[in-house]
Symmetry: C2
Subunit: 273 residues, 2 copies
Amino acid sequence: MGDLSRLCIHTITNKPWSLPEALQAYSDQGIGGVSIWQNAVEPYGAKEASRIIADFPLKVVSYVRGGFFPALDQTARRQALDQNRKLIDEAAEINAPLLVLVCGAEPNQSLLKSREQIREGIEILLDHAQAAGVNLSIEPLHPMYADTRSAINTLGQANDMAEAIGSPAVGVAVDVYHLWWDPDLEAEILRCGKNGNLDAFHICDWKSPTVDMLNDRGLMGEGCIPVKTISQWVEAAGFHGFIEVEIFSNHYWSMDQHRFLEMIIDAYKKLYH
Amino acid sequence: MGDLSRLCIHTITNKPWSLPEALQAYSDQGIGGVSIWQNAVEPYGAKEASRIIADFPLKVVSYVRGGFFPALDQTARRQALDQNRKLIDEAAEINAPLLVLVCGAEPNQSLLKSREQIREGIEILLDHAQAAGVNLSIEPLHPMYADTRSAINTLGQANDMAEAIGSPAVGVAVDVYHLWWDPDLEAEILRCGKNGNLDAFHICDWKSPTVDMLNDRGLMGEGCIPVKTISQWVEAAGFHGFIEVEIFSNHYWSMDQHRFLEMIIDAYKKLYH
């Protein structure tokens, strides 16, 4: 992994850049893949974005992010499904093999209810996703996001749900930021690797202290997450896909993005030399 | 539980008050118990604090907080043990039947290593705690505190550790703020209730949004934690001890503390009418 062919960057990591700026910078550095966020596509529309992307030698790894299924009323849940169908179509348009799902949660109902609505939402989308050739990846989120962002907070829960749904179009996305603390993480990574559900692997770091619950993620190596060890578990589970850097950070977004990209590449090379 | 005989307040909840001010206000309201934080004792010393407490008709429910065992070097780990011995003695002095353990974590070593050091620390303290008649309660902390505050982040882990240590002087403390998101919570509460390890039950709420990772806890009813449901699990597990309100909140600390105490009592009565 010493070269950058397995490195993938999420466009949100370099949020100040437009889609063409990000694609140009990643290509110039010899980075292999890119995960495209919806906000980067929006100014162009998916068709035009697809043409822009085609000019660069980058593999589109995923489209981010669908989900947000739970809601108190059925109208809102139907709107969420429509939005997800649109995102699946956009993913297909930009040749993204998978749509990452931030499953959602509704603070005014129980987590159990939200989980039922998540499962129902995914099951309703299955035909549409399979017809489009886009996989749906359940990304468990850190328990600190259980109020509004996701009622799926451990890899065990994501694995349970993916297995219960039992479709080849549904898998899980492993993000070290959300899962590093979990004593069952190694076993659960092995589990989804073995059964073919391990779709994606996201890295960054947990800064100590973390000053913002959403936008203070760290660069690999500056925090307390054993990224190398977790990477080895992911490899041992049979995953040899892209290693995706996904960093939300007010700090890093405020700096020169070319300099930040160099720091990401340095951190990546240190990890996987 | 309509009356306040099972209600207990943690002194930190009314941080602006001195120990005598807090004890006076709780007594005036007919509250049954108090959990005493070290910072409330410090200005007086434990002996003098004990005399102050004896003037009020309040049951001391716990002393908060020991722990913080992990450290990179042995000297620091020994100092932590000395500090815990001092806290056990202070707990005995103020007639607190238990010392709550915030177990600690060291961001520059693995969680596994920190957990080993936690277990070792507790085992070393057992004789001292038993001689003093003070139980040690492992409080699992929310995974967002896994970097520096605790490597024990689920009730399952706390139960595992308490059972592995296997001493009548070691139990667990259940705090809804840390554990509400856990899909295994009901089963793990039942587990520690059945085996006699359920020492304490702490309540507050999770505000949505939460603006500070440490000091933005909510009053019961204003957030998304199903406090009533979790209370029923705790009752069903055979726990009939005090219901402890523990709220760290810059917001509430900035308001009139008598008014805040009334709000706590109202919220408590609404929950347990």
